[in-house]
Amino acid sequence: MSGLGLVLEIAKTALATQRYGIDVTGHNIANVNNPSYSRQNPVIEAKEPASYGGLLLGQGVDTTSVVRATDQFIESQLREQKSNEVAFEEMEQYMQILEGYLNENSETSISVLLSDFWNRWHDISNNPAGSAERVAIYEHSILLAERFNSLEADLIQMKTDLTGAVCFGVGRINEITEEIAYLNTQIVAIEASTTANDLRDKRTALVSELSEYLDVKSFEQSNGSLTIITARGCVLVQGNASYDLEMGGATGDRVIWRSSGTAIVDITDYLSNGKLGGWLTMRDEVIAKCELDLNALAKEFIWAVNNQHSQGVGLKLFEPDSTLTGTYKTSTDLDALEFGSEIQYIADGFKLWIENRTAPANPIMNAVSIDLSGLSGSSSLADVATAINNQIAAAGLAGVTASVSDDAIRFTAGSDYAFGFSDDNSNMLAALGVNTFFEGASAGTMELNPVLSDKDYIAAATIEADGSYAPGDNTNALAITDLQYTSNQISQWTCDRVNGNTQSTVTATFEQYYHGLVGAMGIISSSISRSREFNEVMVNELSQIRDSISAVSLDEEMTNLMEFQHAYEAAAKLITVADEMLEELLSAK
């Protein structure tokens, strides 16, 4: 038969259930602003009824489990979108720095300096003998070269910083995957008997953080453990094991996945999402292009100016007892020179002028036309020196000798002999770095030829066929000013990590090319910003959907609290009633 004991028993389960309810509500309220928290709900069921005196009577209530309100599909969508957004966010930040380097609203921007460079040559052509004009072009060209140097250095520094960031990211990824593997073990153990809600939330949060670093795909196994793979199908976590990433490759800037065995996979080029994806895209695509194009421009620019400059003569010849050393070096053959491929091995090579000053009042100027047809790309510098010396001797002249010094060509004038050059049809002088304006062959190495510290050697004039040269001759300076209007074939790069970098040629003046480069960076930058904005909106939308399923609503929880509280009060009342009834019975005499 059913006794008063049953009423008390029912009241006890009711009290416990409402208390659990208040606990869960409290837990929810406490986590109201925890972004990775999924709200929990107690699952309340009526207890199995028991039969008493032919009646089936309920036995109260039971909390069978506490479940999380969550939607796996939305969670993974959100995670993927977030991973995308983070990549663009990082790129946008680095792009802002790059834009600063390319800032065109300044008097020291490369395009202003380039325009001014030509203008200074115009000034020299207007007053070829003027020392002020010569100092101006000298100082200005140093400024231009330094600007190229510092832009290149800034780009390299950015790449170094990005590699540092990737390295830090790899460290954090390894920590996260280790932790996820540990959580897998715990969840599998706990879920043998119950639900591991909070551990799952914690694991979800870690997977989210992981996806903010790199591309992540995850699958849940039937036992509750999570398998995580990244680019190229490399497994980061499986069951209770995690696999580390590391920095490797020839220069230590590649991201390498290492299996439990000895197998390694270079996943660098396949990471496109998360911070790592953003950093690597910046480093290996955006900055790489900027640097390659800048160097292509610097190389063509240096070559064009040098090639024209080497045709000319300054206010004076290279003096007696002086040496003139080429700026480009090769220890092997001529093809190995920076601009070795430009040399034409022709009979009508260049003219070497030797002025005999043994009778100072009556100097005699003679030319040797240097025949290069006996040489080729596989000739050495020594071969060049020998050919020149032989031809000087064959012309019955003396006083200037060619030699090789420290892997560069060197001309040495005897006392009473001075020398100069003209009519180089072979590009040999420019390729050797003789009588040139700049040295170096890239943005980072561009400098002024040290010979020009004597500004009289800035070659505005040309030695004429009769060997005369005049301070007011500006033909070479005019030819240099023409270079600003000349279109050149300049390489332009497209950098793609997966498909490799490809090179095409554009026809443009130097300034147009640089403007195009800045414009291209601007386009990349604005498209990154747009993608970031788009992804941000998507993340926001998905977050709202996720939160509408999983996040806590205080109003809801307050209502629940009231509900549980009133139910608790009622259950307590039940005990009072049972108590009074018992007392009634006990006091019956």
Partner: protein, 288 residues
């Protein structure tokens, strides 16, 4: 849709941040007066503006070249017209000396007049602009004519650039211009001193030839001045149109920019007000 408490705060954060970003950009435009402050703002416009800027820089330089050319040409022209005057004077003197009876003292004084003319010619042949000799060919730093009229320059003409692919000779080969004239004048002086009437007549013919040559040169210079000035005018026009274009590309439409800023301000205030109100609402406040 179920709205979580967090969503209300997140939405406020997201929306306010978005409007703030737009406000920042709109303010940047109004404050700088520029539509493009970073290269990503309008990469195509930026590339165009860079092209225009370098074109402007080149035009400015060509303008400087032209003004220098003008000063050279003006100096040459004024020297050569003085040379023309001297030739005319000398010729008038010849006419006087050939016609009628001239006594030796008159001839001697005529000879000394011609000698003075030769000195004047030397100094005109040595005309300089900013320390450069105009009639010395490329030897612009060498005094082209000695006292006796010997030429020390060379046979080129100093040339400058007045357009992207246009050069113009602004100096001259002094020898071609003056040498015969010096010979004529010194021959005339000798003829006067030696009372050589045939010599004087020959000098008259030569003076006519010299006069023609100088006149041709002056008209050549005149047409050069015209060319240079035409270029100058064109460049001034192009500079104006380029500057205008630059402003169209770069400069903000202030009226539109300020309206944008103000409308964003209204939106921002509304968002602040609605966020402030909605964030305060909670069931908790109504429970006792």
């Amino acid at each position: 849709m179920r709205v979580a408490s967090k969503s209300i705060y997140d939405a406020a954060r997201f929306n306010l941040a978005n409007i703030q970003e737009q406000l920042y950009k709109a303010n940047q435009v109004v404050a700088t007066g520029k539509r493009i402050t970073a290269i990503s703002d309008d990469p195509v416009g930026l590339t165009q503006s860079l092209h225009v800027k370098s074109a402007l820089s080149n035009l400015e330089q060509l303008g400087r070249n032209i003004s220098m050319g003008k000063s050279w040409l003006a100096a040459s022209e004024s020297s050569l017209s003085q040379v023309q005057d001297i030739i005319s004077d000398a010729r008038a003197l010849c006419v006087q000396m050939v016609n009628g009876t001239i006594d030796p003292s008159q001839q001697a004084s005529a000879a000394s007049i011609i000698e003075n003319h030769i000195d004047e010619m030397v100094s005109l042949g040595n005309t300089e602009v900013n320390g450069h000799y105009v009639f010395a060919g490329w030897k612009t730093d060498t005094v082209p004519f000695g006292q006796d009229g010997t030429y020390h320059g060379d046979n080129h003409a100093f040339t400058i650039k007045i357009g992207n692919d246009t050069t113009i000779e602004i100096g001259a080969d002094g020898e071609a211009l003056f040498q015969d004239l010096f010979t004529t004048l010194s021959d005339l002086k000798d003829a006067l001193e030696g009372n050589d009437v045939d010599g004087i007549r020959a000098a008259m013919t030569n003076l006519d030839i010299d006069h023609d040559r100088i006149t041709t040169k002056i008209s050549d210079i005149g047409s050069k001045v015209l060319r240079v000035e035409t270029n100058e005018r064109i460049f001034q026009d192009v500079t104006v149109s380029n500057t205008q274009r630059l402003s169209e590309i770069e400069d903000a439409d202030m009226a539109a920019a300020i309206i944008d800023l103000e409308s964003l301000e209204v939106v921002y205030k509304a968002a602040l007000a609605s966020s402030a109100r909605i964030m305060q609402l909670s069931l908790v406040d109504f429970l006792s």
